[in-house]
């Protein structure tokens, strides 16, 4: 390596490494990882009226939406363990999801048109989550009605668990499922977030 000019090494060692330099290198890595098929989990963090939301996708579709209260670092660690450790911040692959969420919060969108990857859920939970989008914008169902909807009227508690473990809150509208007496039930993003979403949809 002796024929590299010493001047260049001097420059290299003395030059500062700025955040811009690293950001540009990161962008290059995002692009090449995508084109080489290495981007098993891409994620980005977007701003919303409910605080920062983490969006993550696999090549099959959106796999996770997480509220800040869930601790985004922990969510990413969980994705690394459950899906693949090849987790990279790669905002571009989440452009469509980010745009549709923006439109939803701006009340110009009522249904999401995104490919979803439900592989984090299994069995009955997954079945319930697949049916949740059938509850239309601004409507609500009780856990009991939801159990009937998936053809298992006795599985009310299991429906509750399926809603509570929904990996795609907001996009898969588990916030539209309430207790039979009309009270809220739980919500992964907290009751305030659930109330805010229901209010927003009701007044749209």
């Amino acid at each position: 390596m002796n024929d590299v000019r010493n001047d260049d090494h001097v420059a290299a060692l003395a030059a500062p490494i700025t955040p811009d330099t690293l950001a540009e290198l990161h962008r290059r890595l995002e692009a090449s990882a995508q084109s080489e098929g290495l981007l098993d989990v891409a994620y980005r963090i977007v701003d919303s009226p409910l605080g920062n939301l983490l969006l993550a996708s696999t090549p099959r579709g959106l796999i996770r939406v997480a509220f800040a209260t869930e601790d985004h670092d922990r969510v990413l660690e969980h994705l690394a363990a459950k899906v693949s450790p090849r987790v990279l911040r790669a905002p571009k692959r989440l452009d469509a999801a980010a745009r549709e969420l923006d439109e939803y919060f701006a009340r110009t969108r009522r249904t999401f048109d995104l490919a979803l990857d439900l592989s984090l859920s299994k069995g009955f939970r997954r079945l319930v989550q697949r049916h949740l989008p059938e509850i239309g914008y601004g409507q609500t169902r009780s856990y009991t009605q939801m159990a009937e909807m998936v053809g298992n009227p006795k599985a009310v508690r299991a429906v509750g668990t399926a809603c509570a473990t929904n990996p795609l809150p907001v996009v898969v509208p588990c916030h539209r499922v309430l207790r039979a007496d009309g009270t809220l039930g739980g919500y992964i993003g907290g009751l305030e977030a659930k109330t805010a979403l229901l209010e927003m949809e009701r007044s749209a």
């Binding site: 390596m1 002796n2 590299v4 000019r5 010493n6 001047d7 260049d8 090494h9 001097v10 420059a11 290299a12 060692l13 003395a14 030059a15 500062p16 490494i17 700025t18 330099t21 690293l22 290198l25 990161h26 290059r28 890595l29 090449s32 990882a33 080489e36 290495l38 989990v41 994620y43 990413l76 660690e77 994705l79 690394a80 363990a81 693949s84 450790p85 090849r86 987790v87 990279l88 911040r89």
Partner: protein
């Protein structure tokens, strides 16, 4: 359950040190390519990396190999250096003016320069440095020591206390 951290955390934690290694080996103009090749290769192999592996040494090993590849691929004439910002480095031996120190480091023979880069920019133990450079731990220690001796002569400033081999 797999407890490996997300690859993004690896990039965030080691991106700067790997760029330092690439720059130290290639100069500033080709370092970016070597950095990109390094992290792409690392991302490809990451799922198979044992959980107990030393991620930093693993990355530096890849970076060194990629730097050699990039160097071989670009047998062009080096581009003349343009105006350099007079800012101190973000990483490095603590002290007033790192720029002058690294200027002196840049003039060292490759092996000494690498030993010093791995030791003082990345903070690696000599056992890891020896594994990467080849040769014994003692040889790695000596390369860094010889480099420092030269530095004390060519840069008689403040390499003093902090930078002992």
């Amino acid at each position: 359950m797999n407890t490996k951290q997300p690859f993004e955390a690896v990039v965030a934690l080691h991106g700067t040190a790997v760029l330092r290694v690439c720059r130290s080996m290639l100069g500033i103009h080709d370092a970016d390519d070597a950095w990109s090749e390094t992290f792409l290769a690392a991302m490809r192999a990451y799922p198979d990396l044992p959980e107990t592996a030393n991620v930093e040494a693993w990355l530096v090993t890849i970076a060194r190999r990629k730097a050699i590849d990039v160097h071989r691929a670009s047998k062009r004439n080096p581009v003349p250096v343009e105006d350099l910002p007079e800012a101190p480095t973000a990483l490095g031996v603590p002290g007033a003016d790192d720029t002058e120190l690294w200027r002196a480091v840049g003039e060292l023979p490759p092996k000494q320069r690498q030993a010093i880069t791995f030791r003082y920019l990345v903070g690696m133990p000599y056992a890891d440095i020896a594994a990467i450079l080849g040769g014994t731990v003692e040889a790695a220690r000596r390369a860094a020591a010889d480099g420092l001796k030269t530095l004390r002569r060519t840069y008689p400033g403040t390499i003093a206390e902090g930078a002992r081999p």
